[in-house]
Symmetry: C2
Amino acid sequence: MKKKFLLKKIISILKKKGLSKKHSKISANYLIEAELFDARSHGITRLKMYCDRIKKGLINTKPKIKVKNINSSVSYIDADNCIGFVAAEIGIDKAIQNAKKTGIGLVAVKKSGHYGLSRFYAERAVKKKLIVFCFTNAPPALAPFGSRKPLFGTNPICFGSPTGKVPFIFDSSTTKINRGILRRADKLGLKIPSGLALNKKGLPTTIAREALLGTQLPIAGFKGSGLAWMIDILSGVLTGSSHSGKTKDPFDDFSGPQNIGHLFITINPNIFSGNNFFKEIRKNIKRVKKLPKAKGFSSILYPGERKNKIYKKNMNKDISIPRKILKEMEVLDANK
Amino acid sequence: MKKKFLLKKIISILKKKGLSKKHSKISANYLIEAELFDARSHGITRLKMYCDRIKKGLINTKPKIKVKNINSSVSYIDADNCIGFVAAEIGIDKAIQNAKKTGIGLVAVKKSGHYGLSRFYAERAVKKKLIVFCFTNAPPALAPFGSRKPLFGTNPICFGSPTGKVPFIFDSSTTKINRGILRRADKLGLKIPSGLALNKKGLPTTIAREALLGTQLPIAGFKGSGLAWMIDILSGVLTGSSHSGKTKDPFDDFSGPQNIGHLFITINPNIFSGNNFFKEIRKNIKRVKKLPKAKGFSSILYPGERKNKIYKKNMNKDISIPRKILKEMEVLDANK
């Protein structure tokens, strides 16, 4: 489907459900961005979920978003349960502003919802020549080390840095497989590789549905579990949002708003050694790329490069949407 | 050996080599702390290395440490190649001060050396009721994903948070095995478990020496490699220090000072939701601990708890030192 047409379609559907024109535009844009990054688990497949939550009043279509500037570096945002994309965009823009003023920005967002990919907001800061951390929590997916019940989300770590060229964007969940990929596999009846998740009984599974009802395995055992816990503290406890398993699953739990929290930290890389930073990071990347390659590798890519290539390639193509999801869109478009 | 006696001995040795009384005391204290945490790879086994570097003039015994306050949140420290423990302690104390003033502290340290465990400095901030990140770089140990030559250090991620009780301290290298453990295993002729490192030819090895000359494997493949790269940018490039493989190995490379960088980020957890933070983090920990346990687990510990127990147990015992290291100390003590 043509991108332009698809964008219009999504905006029209979101508006029909009651979202404002502005919020519909912002949200539709990020859903398309996810498709362009081949992060299809965070793309159009989620449109129905957002619509369901809007219809049920769990995403606030007329939010009173409050931005409190605690000082010139630190701000606190109450997103009033607006759609996550909008809350996060306001949050990262505030963090960018703050870092431009003082060298460091710290912004907490509470009462938000699922915001798509952390990468979106990291790129926004990196394009303004800032270093950035984005943290967000997510509904239970991962069992803390020593437990057999999921409680932490897939809690991604996202870090970005300008390089002078393609942004360095490290964006990785603390689970071996992303939950969105599980969701999409379940919807489309695809199997998942083994060794990534356990079923409810604690046994390995390759069936997406069983994994969703069971536990996703953390990267690196107790280290991944510790990182997920760290992110639960930063994005949940610190921001005054849901945490320790209380973040509602946007697909399954309609008992209230998600109350997700985000934390953005931005740093002006010029603050310590001036423009030397840009000289040195170019050297850094050049040195790594020149290393002798491992078997099966013809080049070494830094985090963000592969995704950037995918994005550019997809920019020149139409977006292909599985029939099942197309049908979902038709139904969404037909009903108020 | 009695702790008090050991402390005196180490101070006396360091002073004999030319370190000031103050710097000797600070350094000896952290070497003992490492032993108490059972992080023996960062304990007395390193004393000879520090002495060698002092003797060769690579650790500056009369440094002119400059602290530049860029603003009330951000400071930049030129440690003038002093011993790493001292540089890091000055750095974290500045970061603590800044966060107490504005809610956020950002401190970069350049021209430093190996500072022991990141945990030391994280605990210092947590004891002042702050959330903290400590980043430091290290000499080449890990091959970037796609390469077969080590370039990044074991680059630890360290995060701390107050809990009202035992500090939450996540301190983990981005490699599957710590380099210090390899060093100590090599010194004492111990084998290492398989699957953690490759030899120079890229083949798995359990011989510490081969692993030291080869490559340590990252946690979680490309994710661990990406995290190590992130830390190289934060502690190396951003601080204006060595990076991308240019950090000198303190044991093997006497061609100049290490020029290691550290980055400390401190956050006052009260800044967003006041004392609610402490109420919520207690809830957070309680909820996780109450989860049903996995097979073989009788309790769930948060990062830092196990080490805290070890520390307390060791506090009531003498420190046992392998004969080989005792001999090393005797030689160090005998010679100027």
